[in-house]
Symmetry: C2
């Protein structure tokens, strides 16, 4: 990892190489074990590795959700998967979606977990405890820190959109914009195009990680229209189930994953492509 460039410059290269802002979320659930994997090849690592191989041509980033590995006591498989990407696809930056939110020595330990143990290129962070949560992650100057801003789920409005005239999510956006640090990003859901537009207005230079297209109901066109920066970039649009969940009985499961990633890649292609 010592020679890797900063997260944001890796992302710029990966945008260019893939021609798209597609990120694939490798979030395997226990029911997602295709018949095509023989019994001794099942498990999170094998499934994840095959997904990564299938989508590598089409993505600007790969995202892993810590919860799915932690619940199964398979943190080592998460380490191995991230290592696998660093070795075989060194141009693809890896996001660890862990939504960590703590302070002081504990936040330092979470930063150590994300960047030293897992060697993730970027990690998602929850700002409920304030900027002290974010700071220890920023000490790793070459890594990305992606702060929750406006999430894709309906119930988030209760806290994030409050109060109406100066909502929490816009305060988070302004704070990130003010740092002018390209490695510091925002999570902005695809399911609220109007909020996406407002965040873009308040954080014209920031890059957004956008969950919520496909299964959650967000529409790719809206995300591109309202979320892009004036340079046409600035988006990492995550799709998980829409790509990785295919017919488990298919003998070409990972071919279908590949085709799905290819379709999303085009749907999320940069305008100049």
């Amino acid at each position: 990892m010592a020679n890797r460039s900063s997260f944001y410059s890796s992302l710029e290269s990966a945008w260019d190489e893939s021609g798209s802002c597609l990120c694939v979320g490798v979030d395997p659930t226990p029911d997602m074990n295709p018949d095509v994997l023989s019994a001794n090849k099942r498990g999170l690592y094998e499934f994840g590795k095959r997904v990564v191989d299938a989508v590598s041509d089409f993505v600007c980033s790969v995202k892993f959700n810590h919860a799915h590995f932690a619940a199964a006591a398979q943190e080592n498989q998460l380490c191995r998967l991230i290592q696998y990407i660093h070795e075989h696809y060194p141009s693809i930056p890896v996001i660890l979606d862990a939504k960590r939110g703590d302070i002081g020595a504990t936040a330092q330990q979470y930063a150590r977990e994300a960047f030293e143990r897992y060697e993730a290129d970027a990690v998602t962070v929850n700002p409920f405890l304030g900027w002290e949560t974010v700071q220890p992650f920023l000490e790793y100057k070459d890594r990305g820190v992606i702060v929750l801003c406006k999430t894709s789920n309906p119930d988030a409005a209760w806290l994030q959109d409050f109060p109406e005239d100066d909502p929490v999510y816009l305060r988070v956006a302004k704070k990130v914009q003010a740092t002018a640090n390209p490695n510091l990003m925002l999570v902005v859901g695809a399911t609220h195009p109007d909020s996406l537009r407002r965040v873009r207005n308040h954080a014209p230079e920031a890059t957004f990680l956008v969950p919520g297209i496909g299964a959650q109901g967000g529409v790719a066109e809206d995300v591109l229209q309202y979320g892009r920066r004036t340079d046409g970039l600035g988006l990492v649009v995550n799709c998980s189930r829409g790509v990785i969940r295919q017919d488990p009985s298919s003998s070409d499961y990972f071919g279908m994953v590949r085709e799905s990633a290819k379709a999303y890649n085009r749907m999320l292609a940069h305008e100049s492509q």
Copy 2:
């Protein structure tokens, strides 16, 4: 765990047995390795086990911070420590301080992690993504779910105290009060006595996990005065470094941990004791 009673009733018994609302946070950092542990007995499990043995007479709960184990890739030691408490001190409920905050299938995986993998009696949860974050944890009806409300760190005000006339932290408190579920608790820091008083006014029946006494500057007397319910209970006051960090060169390190826990136990004794 099948025969364990609900978290809240375990807590009531432990309040009674210990005569106090002291909770000890077992958050070992790499520099916290006393000379009295021989080289082959070092590590998070051995240290934690000796701390638990030293404080068991004086606490209503023991809290573990996930980050410290995760950064060191020692989740198995955390599992073993919690098992050790369930076996040797079955009347002491265990809180996993993980501040999880996610939604849908991911939140379910985090609930599975806390309650099935670690077999924690309660877990801390971050409400930034709304009530959808909390719900999957509540499906485990016998377990405790402790929602961040007003944390002890200075920078938290930026989000939690906003806007002044109807701050986020009071909205969280009202929501928890409205559920009337004793297994659903609030995290309220010791460092803001006025906020503690306001949360108590809005959530008169809830139980609070209170971090921030000792090293962080919170004062035990304030916490008791402003945080107690009218029945004199309703508090779980955490102390970590103030108890577990002693002179590493002392030949009686864990005796000092015991004495410190005893002192905090008295400082935080129930009024009727």
